[in-house]
């Protein structure tokens, strides 16, 4: 038998470098400490957190009802936010506002032309009163993070679309669907993946053989045609929520087989670990072995792969929407918004309609950085 190299110095009460809190640090604390050192991952975590806060209460961050059309503000260009105003006497005061713009339509080309009206500005304030909504779908509220002091005056931080709907508010609202579709989709593939992978890996033998063949078969099916066919096959008269759920399910079809393989592999290798054998000899039941001893051992890996799977889902949703098979308006998701922007018209006359693309890129980047950092920090014991 081989002598393993031992890293800790011999027989000292506690390793000398360790602070006392290190000794009682649980797995998650260790992961956190190691994760914290990753600057990019921390940034990703913060951005992700912010995005999910926005996704939780999108209406609070919106300035206008995202479905509110406005005939006088079609293809309204973005209005930059000015934080300070210059008073007539030349002094500068803090007074958030945007410049008002007036619409004229070119009689020949029909193109909307906006001119800034330097004399008029729209004053803004924080926690302004705006359109009514329900916080978390329950609590009625009218408060918005920022809004015009005059609720009849619309503001367009990121411009408006062809119907005069506020792009910023729509991005914020779309955030809810897009971010949750990733989360729910991954949760579903996780559920199937862990269940089947776990059964396969823990029990092995014939069940394993069957599940492995099923997984291989599913992996052999080409994804895109299946997506297309399934998405096209969805009964379109289903309620939006069910439809959304099904789209998510279709997207999660990509993920589960891969995840099941990972889980199986983990289970297979853990099954022969000494500490699992020890637990079995301790008399722990199968369930307890799985849930108390094995599952925590790869939970952090699962969390990392889940984090990395969410951006794939978000991108898949946009791709499906691009093909016209994903969610449909009036549902607002980033994919839907991008599909609406997906034309030469937008590039030429309203490039700000691509702002949802930036939102996708930011969200995907943040989640990838976060996931990458988590993956590196996932196993604090094997350093």
């Amino acid at each position: 038998m081989t002598a393993k190299t031992e890293t800790a110095p011999p027989e000292q009460p506690t390793p000398p470098t360790a602070a006392s809190r290190f000794t009682t640090a649980s797995q998650w604390q260790l992961v956190w400490w190691s994760f914290r050192k990753h600057k990019l991952a921390m940034l990703g975590a913060i951005v992700t957190l912010m995005i999910y806060i926005v996704a939780a209460v999108p209406d609070f961050f919106a300035t206008t009802d995202p479905s509110q059309q406005n005939a006088r503000a079609v293809y309204h260009p973005p209005q930059p936010l000015h934080l300070f105003a210059t008073l007539p006497d030349g002094s500068t005061v803090f007074s958030p506002h945007v410049k008002q713009m007036v619409l004229k339509r070119d009689p020949v080309t029909l193109a909307p032309i906006y001119t800034e009206d330097p004399t008029r500005r729209i004053d803004l304030r924080f926690f302004a009163e705006g359109y009514a909504y329900h916080l978390f779908g329950l609590i009625p509220s009218k408060t918005h993070l920022i809004g015009s002091t005059d609720p009849r005056q619309q503001i367009f931080f990121l411009g408006s679309d062809r119907l005069g709907r506020d792009v910023w508010s729509r991005i914020v609202k779309g955030c809810q669907i897009s971010m949750s579709i990733g989360l729910v989709g991954v949760a579903m593939s996780l559920l199937i993946g862990i269940l089947l992978g776990g059964i396969s890996g823990y029990y092995g033998g014939r069940i394993d053989f069957v599940i492995q063949r099923v997984i291989e078969f599913i992996l052999a099916l080409p994804t895109i045609p299946i997506w297309l066919a399934l998405a096209a096959a969805l009964p379109q008269n289903w309620p939006a929520l069910l439809h959304y759920f099904m789209i998510t399910l279709i997207l999660s079809l990509i993920g589960w087989a891969q995840l099941a393989r990972v889980v199986r592999g983990r289970f297979l290798s853990l099954r022969t670990e000494d500490f699992v054998t020890a637990a079995r000899l301790d008399g722990a039941s199968e369930m307890r072995i799985i849930f108390r001893h094995m599952l925590p051992s790869f939970m952090s890996h699962i969390v990392a792969s889940v984090t990395l799977a969410i951006p794939a889902m978000i991108l898949a949703e946009t791709a499906l929407s691009f093909l016209g098979l994903g969610l449909q308006p009036p549902v607002i998701s980033w994919g839907v918004l991008l599909r609406e922007a997906q034309n030469i018209r937008s590039i030429v006359t309203a490039p700000w309609l691509f702002a949802p693309g930036a939102a996708v890129v930011i969200a995907v980047l943040a989640l990838n950085f976060l996931g990458d950092g988590l993956r590196d920090a996932a196993d604090p014991y094997n350093k």
């Binding site: 479905s67 059309q69 406005n70 005939a71 079609v74 339509r105 070119d106 020949v108 080309t109 029909l110 193109a111 909307p112 062809r162 119907l163 005069g164 096209a232 379109q236 008269n237 016209g324 449909q328 308006p329 009036p330 997906q342 034309n343 030469i344 018209r345 030429v348 006359t349």
Partner: protein
């Protein structure tokens, strides 16, 4: 389009000029050929050389004795150049048809008001309106130089359309009372069509794309794939890897509306240009080249077409077609890019792309017809939808001007249904009733109808306690503007307490739901603005797929009362009047009948309209001339074909 026709009518077609607004009229006349023949007939330089090399017979031998003389829109042009145009990824064969495939026995004038001689240089119609004798042009030839005669037309009818292996049943256009017309050869250049009953619209139908069968199959070529004339068809089918001779025939000779019509470079045609690079599944472009035997000349005797050929590039995505347009890689295009929403973009890039915009007169009447299903399966909803006051209330609740401003860039006017304002049959009441935005009135009416109770969200409740709610089917991929307009309607209706769902569904499902009569409401574009008698679905319940306010009634009509549901008196009366108007050709009488129909339709108020279908646009390269500044846009007038692209030319 052809339905049951059983009335007879006058012979002479004397419609007034309906579209005074249409610019530069391409008046074509039968100028005496002898007058022209004296001048040196001119032809394209490439043919001059070919003739000199004896590869081609001289022009005089190639042209018929009586060629069609075309009056150019602006001026006599010059030879040369290649027109660049775009097709969408697939199933866009009609994009080629519209440009080159309009060589029927008759053809439309530019104003879409009258039929003019086409392949036939004249015709006679009997008093019973059921016998049509067409006089073909002597000496006319297919694009391979083979003579075109009455035999070709007889072949089409007797051997092809009547062959049940090729056509299970003959196309409806050629049948009256369930029987296909008899086509007989009088002599080489005379052919007679005999129908079982009067057919007042026959000459117009012959000018539409579906009426072009007589000139579609050259006997000398297509008989090679017909078992009656060839005994090796089974082998040929096998060699071509297709299951039977029918498939082989369609592969080689095509049909009016299938891609393979443009997939065979060998098939002779009567078109100004013939296929040089075919339209197949793998094609990235389709190229057509000049037909040396084309049978039309300009007023100076120059053989048409002026332009050497046409290149259709195939864009998988409409956006790359748009890109080609704005970057000046397309010479003429309206198809796929002509939505109003695209207009600012296209107009702004006109200078960069070196093109100008021309206008297409929308043949449609209504931009978005909202059809409440008056024959809904659910009795409660049926009672509500069938109530005229309910529909009036909904109509008054719509702020049409807002929809026009936002969705249609202010380019339209509130409108219900019927012939367009420029049309002589324009019906003011049917077109304008209930279009005022009057939520107060709407609320009063709805209250009176028994929907006065409201729920927690301020939506009205039906007397049975359920929320007043319905879904409106719309196809987002087909008409994205309608989704936008419906979103606005939703808000307008919500303001009067009516809840509606914009039911965005995929197109196949839209049809399936319609066929099964499953829809609450549905929207579609309302056709018939310029051809109120050819497409009358919105004022007469005759179209089993299009008359969505009452599909079972339309089925009842088209099945002669065997299927569907019997319509109310008002509607039945309209179908009767319609049948009568279709069988006659006396325009004045037609107008009277039509007025009666529209009176009844206005009274019934079956569907709710939003606005007059706005005119669309197309682009033409600044060097490409003789393109009318205004032309109709319709399937019956398959733009730009009837504007005669063969007389377009490039300035140097």
């Amino acid at each position: 389009m052809a339905r049951k026709r059983n009335n007879s009518g006058g012979l002479k077609l004397t419609r007034r000029q309906l579209m005074a607004g249409a610019g530069g009229m391409a008046a074509t006349s039968l100028v005496s050929w002898s007058a022209l023949a004296q001048g040196a007939a001119k032809e394209a330089p490439e043919f001059v050389q070919a003739v000199a090399d004896k590869k081609l017979p001289p022009l005089a031998e190639r042209l018929p004795k009586i060629p069609l003389v075309v009056q150019p829109v602006e001026r006599v042009g010059r030879y040369g150049g290649q027109i660049r145009r775009g097709l969408r990824g697939s199933a866009d064969h009609n994009g080629i048809l519209r440009m080159v495939g309009n060589q029927g026995l008759t053809r439309w004038n530019l104003e879409f008001t009258d039929v003019l001689p086409g392949v036939a240089h004249k015709w006679d119609v009997n008093a019973g309106n059921n016998e049509f004798t067409f006089h073909l042009r002597p000496g006319m030839k297919w694009s391979d130089g083979h003579p075109f005669t009455a035999d070709d037309i007889v072949f089409v009818f007797e051997d092809c359309l009547a062959n049940t292996e090729l056509y299970k049943s003959p196309p409806a256009l050629w049948t009256i009372n369930g029987k296909m017309c008899k086509v007989s050869k009088v002599d080489d250049v005379t052919v007679k069509f005999t129908f079982d009953g009067p057919y007042g619209m026959f000459l117009q139908q012959m000018a539409t794309p579906l009426g072009q069968h007589p000139t579609l199959f050259p006997k000398h070529y297509c008989s090679k794939f017909h078992p009656k004339y060839a005994n090796n068809v089974a082998d040929l089918a096998k060699a071509a890897n297709v299951p039977d001779w029918g498939a082989l025939f369609r592969l080689r000779c095509g049909d009016i509306e299938i891609p393979s019509r443009w997939g065979n470079t060998e098939k002779p045609t009567l078109d100004p240009w013939t296929i040089a690079e075919p339209y197949t599944g793998g094609a990235t472009r389709v190229v057509l080249k000049r037909n040396p035997y084309f049978w039309q000349v300009d007023t100076e005797g120059n053989q048409l077409p002026y332009v050497d050929g046409i290149t259709f590039s195939i864009a998988q995505d409409v956006e790359s077609l748009m890109l080609d347009v704005v970057s000046g890689k397309i010479d003429i295009q309206e198809r796929h890019i002509d939505t109003l929403q695209n207009k600012p973009t296209v107009a702004q890039s006109a200078q960069r792309g070196n093109y100008r915009l021309f206008e297409t007169i929308n043949a449609n009447s209504q931009q978005m017809s909202i059809y409440p299903n008056a024959t809904h399966k659910d009795p409660a909803l049926r009672a509500i939808f069938a109530n005229k006051d309910f529909r009036i209330a909904l109509s008054h609740a719509i702020n049409r001007q807002e929809i026009i401003d936002i969705v249609y860039l202010g380019q339209s006017e509130p409108w219900q249904f019927g012939p367009r304002p420029t049309h002589p049959w324009y019906h003011a009441k049917f077109a304008r009733q209930y279009t005022e935005f009057d939520p107060k009135k709407s609320n009063e009416m709805l209250d009176k109808l028994g929907f006065s109770k409201r729920d927690g969200q301020n939506f009205r409740l039906r007397p049975d306690g359920q929320k007043l709610f319905f879904a409106v089917d719309v196809i987002p991929t087909l008409y994205p503007d309608q989704v936008d307009a419906l979103e606005l309607c939703k808000r307008h209706w919500a303001a009067v307490g009516v809840d509606m769902k914009v039911n965005t569904i995929e197109r196949a499902l839209y049809y399936t739901r319609g066929d099964n009569n499953d829809h609450d409401f549905a929207v579609w574009q309302g056709p018939g603005g310029l051809e109120p008698l050819i497409d009358a679905r919105d004022w007469v319940p005759i179209h089993p797929q299009g008359s969505r306010y009452a599909i079972p009634w339309a089925v009842w009509y088209s099945s002669n009362g065997k299927e569907g549901a019997e319509p109310p008196e008002n509607h039945k009366r309209r179908t009767k009047l319609y049948d009568e108007a279709r069988s006659i050709s006396d325009v004045k009488r037609q107008g009277e009948l039509m007025k009666e129909i529209l009176d009844l339709a206005a009274d019934a108020f079956d569907a709710i309209g939003i606005c007059l279908a706005p005119n669309l646009f197309g682009i033409a390269n600044n060097r490409l001339r003789n393109v009318p500044a205004k032309m109709p846009g319709a399937w019956s007038w398959p733009n730009p074909g009837p504007s005669m692209p063969q007389q377009y030319f490039f300035t140097s």
